[in-house]
Symmetry: C2
Subunit: 562 residues, 2 copies
């Protein structure tokens, strides 16, 4: 079922998530005062892998990496921008969705992680609107099909040209026997709130829906005749600008390239190290605390720019996690470690909290929020080791709460002069970083007894030793020097011995107790069903729809309903 | 991957969902005043299919059909019972969960539908508690592993004997590379609210957890030494009896055997007909309205007993749906039709509403609620055809709202003297029958504009013609005689041409817009992941854990994390 690895284009050995506008091949980012235009103009020859062409503005992961980068740059480099116009650079087509030949030839693991990343990018577009008032208007001048319409669904306002042929469509099911899995079904029902029978009709109608019915059925917000389209788009953008409170004179910072050195078994960033112990199927990710105190003022933070420690380490962590996700499929477990002064971490958290009305502090906090959500959704076992000399405090402590399990060492190690491990909480642990289910990680953790969240809050700022942290429920196990290493070793070996798929399903359930949101539904109800379909012969088998698409041969289906 | 059909035991051709206590092979139902004891004592030789033995109180669908039947009988035949004790009839084992050899040899379609039914049965146990105050105490005297502990999780109160060996366990992942998929993971996180890292430890520890830690980690409510166990169980049961308001002198009705005649292409019940048009992959389910008015008093309803039309037709519909689910996998679409007098249906709904404080009316309404939830969760496309002479009113109209799409005929058919189709709403459409997401079907339908629910409510009792029903959003399309049949035919052909798996995933998303509940999470987040795992070679391949279990050979895993 196409689970051979495919060759990356241009002789590359790994997928790289770092880019910048000067290197974009598929998008153009143009900023004009408080309006930015993001134009999708996919380079057919610019596929990430060999073996397909990105026709009709169809996309692969490489295209989406640029979109994700552009959204981050709008947030950090262009704080004055209030509205993004999402457009196509091609005539008569907005976007044809995920490239089908890419999907048909991709490994299951790549397909699943490609969809996860594109989902995160679309959630990022919505987060820019909800958290920072950066509104998106999607101007569809042509056809938006499949992933193309799903991209539009992430916008605040969808405009469709009324020319008798331009339409929005989710043709995945009739055409390919898969789902509109990049949030499409969930946004149709939960964001656009399309009536379920209308949604059924829409999602089973290959040619999609156009004109007045698209508005009546809530699929788009407005249809406009071609002759008036440009004026209407400009008018809507202006209206949204007038309502936005973003920017107001702020100037951005530059997201400079990450410092990153890769060897066969490691990646070294400025504040993050990744060590691959491939024989044990481990990736050990160590975060280093700040080396200098926070700046004295928000202006000092702006001056530090991308070097400002909380932003720098978050960008590095994000890159490290994505690298493991898409390039290191054999990693069973990510081990989070840290080193540094927990008091300094708390000082940065206090600085961010005190500066939270400053646009940059606000963006940094929301960036951490998104990175931590990415960690929650990473299908690797996660374990935090809280050892002497570590700095799991405040924001960094969120990684302990994001982990499936955590071990904390009591006291010191023999012959080691590092100070005993201490954890500490800060205000940020109680609201700044909600998970995709809408709860903080501590609220998720203490679902049974919300009073324990308040107990923890009362201890904010205090250094908590291992026994205290265990007793407060902040770590799974506190163990002394005699037991710690053995117990951790046994755990890591055991984890590597279990079925990787079983663990993926287990962790996707246990990490998200309690309520669901539209966002969490996308990764649960929708994605889990899509992943199932991505395994079914009716989609991915030799005679399945995904493989047969474009061959002139009709797919052959096993007619059993499961 | 074991997708050959298996042979039913004893030469049976179909799975039959009808049974009664005199025919139970696996359970004993003993009623003693206000306490009933349900004892699981599985007959090893009583497997539903050939090829495995039900050792150690492991179960298959046949065992669960009896449990589901027993729960319904407790509700209708024994309204005086306030507490059910769930026990094992075997020494040292409570229940070993779903039979692994059965699972290993079952088709994917059977596995998925087996799990769906067992989930519905456990939800039924919880519904008995929530809706009718019938509390369940689970007394675990031995080991409750996998599905055995999942069964316990459905109880209100879990007691475990503290004998140094008895434990609760979810060993699915370490042992079989699958999930505890009968609600286990979701009830651990959302009902028992076990801390996520404890849950991680518990679900990856084959031998489970016993004694004090089981209580501390919220896995059970109480552990009791063996010598005091029986007294403690009796005491807890009495305490719950004292707190229950159920019963109070009511005597039950008998759930008499269904009238059912089967031919090759049809099943005829007293008020439901099923016609299989197998060439078109259709099951046409016609509901017949009542032929006599409702009784004048609740006593008259008790007198009619299982013949009381709302109960009789609901039981028949439930049996028909289950029969299609598990015996007619090739059915693509269920077509709901009805015939009869809509005014009479409304009269029954009004009677039930007026009698809702009577125990039997209460049970009938909640029974309908459960049957309708079963319809929502049936993985077949659902369409309602509202034609002249039909009676889609009140309760019966819920099938229109449960359908993926509905067509209503405007006026009459040429040469036909049946009255034009009319739909009507009743109070029951606005609260009595919530879906598993907690919303009524109309609230789900009108998520975008809750005011439309109120508009509909204002029309309750009125006969609504096709154009009115369409305009109010109650049906998808109203079509006249000229277009109706063609349009329906094209729809049904198209539906049969699509990928069955794609439709299953699509419908599982579009039917459940809006909020999620623990119940809906079980069928979404948990089940969808489990179904994915049930397709993965690590579980079901030749070298997978499910196939290799008990062979002495270790499974071989593809180590890729997806």
């Amino acid at each position: 079922m196409a689970d051979n690895e495919r060759t990356l284009a241009n002789g590359r050995a790994r997928i790289d998530f770092q880019t910048d506008p000067s290197r974009y091949r598929h998008w153009k980012l143009a900023v004009d005062g408080d309006i930015a235009t993001l134009t999708m103009d996919v380079d057919e020859k610019g596929g990430l892998f060999e073996g397909y062409e990105l026709k009709l503005n169809s996309y692969d992961l490489g295209v989406d990496i640029e979109l994700a980068d552009a959204m981050e740059r709008l947030r950090f480099e262009h704080p004055q921008v209030k509205v993004v116009l999402l457009r196509s650079g091609k005539p008569r087509v907005f976007c044809a969705g995920a490239n089908i030949r890419m999907l048909a030839g991709a490994t299951h693991a790549h397909k699943v992680n490609f969809c996860k990343f594109t989902n995160e990018t679309r959630n990022g577009i919505e987060d820019a609107s909800a958290a920072s008032g950066l509104k998106t208007v999607c101007a569809i001048n042509g056809t938006a099909a499949g992933g193309g319409y799903e991209l539009a669904l992430a916008a605040d306002y969808i405009m469709l040209v009324d020319d008798g042929s331009s339409a929005v469509a989710l043709p995945e099911l009739p055409l390919l026997a898969v789902l509109p899995g990049t949030g499409g079904l969930t946004r149709v029902t939960d964001k656009r709130k399309v009536r379920r029978d209308h949604a059924d009709y829409f999602c089973t109608t290959e040619e999609g829906i156009k004109g007045k019915r698209a508005v009546e059925w809530r699929l788009v917000d407005e249809v406009v005749p071609g002759s008036k389209f440009e004026d209407a788009v400009a008018a809507r953008a202006k209206e949204l600008v007038a309502r936005s409170t973003r920017g107001n004179g702020a100037t951005g910072i530059r997201l400079t390239p990450l410092k990153r050195e890769r060897s066969a078994d490691s990646v070294e960033y400025s504040a993050v190290s990744v060590r691959f112990q491939r024989a044990e199927r481990l990736a050990i990710v160590t975060l280093r605390g700040p080396e200098q105190p926070p700046p004295r003022s928000p202006e000092g933070m702006v001056e530090r720019g991308a070097e400002f420690w909380p932003l720098r380490i978050a960008r590095e962590l994000d890159d490290a996690v994505l690298d493991i996700r898409l390039n290191e499929f054999d990693t069973a477990t990510i081990v989070f470690k840290s080193s540094g002064d927990p008091e300094l971490v708390l000082a940065y958290d206090a600085f961010l909290e005190a500066s939270k009305s400053h646009w940059l502090a606000h963006e940094v906090a929301h960036y951490w929020k998104r990175v931590l959500k990415r960690v929650d959704l990473t299908s690797r076992s996660l374990v935090a080791l809280v050892e002497p000399g570590s700095c799991f405090a405040g924001t960094v402590a969120e990684l302990v709460f994001a982990s499936d399990r955590s071990y904390m060492l009591i006291g010191t190690r023999e012959g080691d002069n590092k100070p005993p491990a201490a954890m500490a909480l800060a205000e940020v642990n109680f609201g700044a970083y909600p998970m995709s289910n809408g709860l903080t990680r501590l609220a998720s953790r203490f679902l049974a007894d919300p009073a324990l969240v308040e107990v923890a809050r009362a201890e904010a700022g205090r250094m908590l030793d291992a026994e205290t942290a265990e007793q407060m429920g902040l770590v799974t196990f506190a163990r002394d020097d005699i037991d710690f290493d053995d117990e951790v070793r046994v755990f890591l070996e055991e984890r590597a011995s279990f079925s990787p798929d079983g663990l993926t399903g287990l962790e996707a359930n246990l990490r998200f107790g309690g309520p669901e949101t539209m966002e969490s539904k996308i990764f649960a109800r929708l994605t889990a069903w899509q992943n199932w379909i991505f395994q079914r012969p009716n989609a991915v088998g030799e005679e399945g729809a995904l493989r047969r698409y474009g061959t002139g041969q009709r797919p052959v289906f096993d007619t059993k309903r499961v």
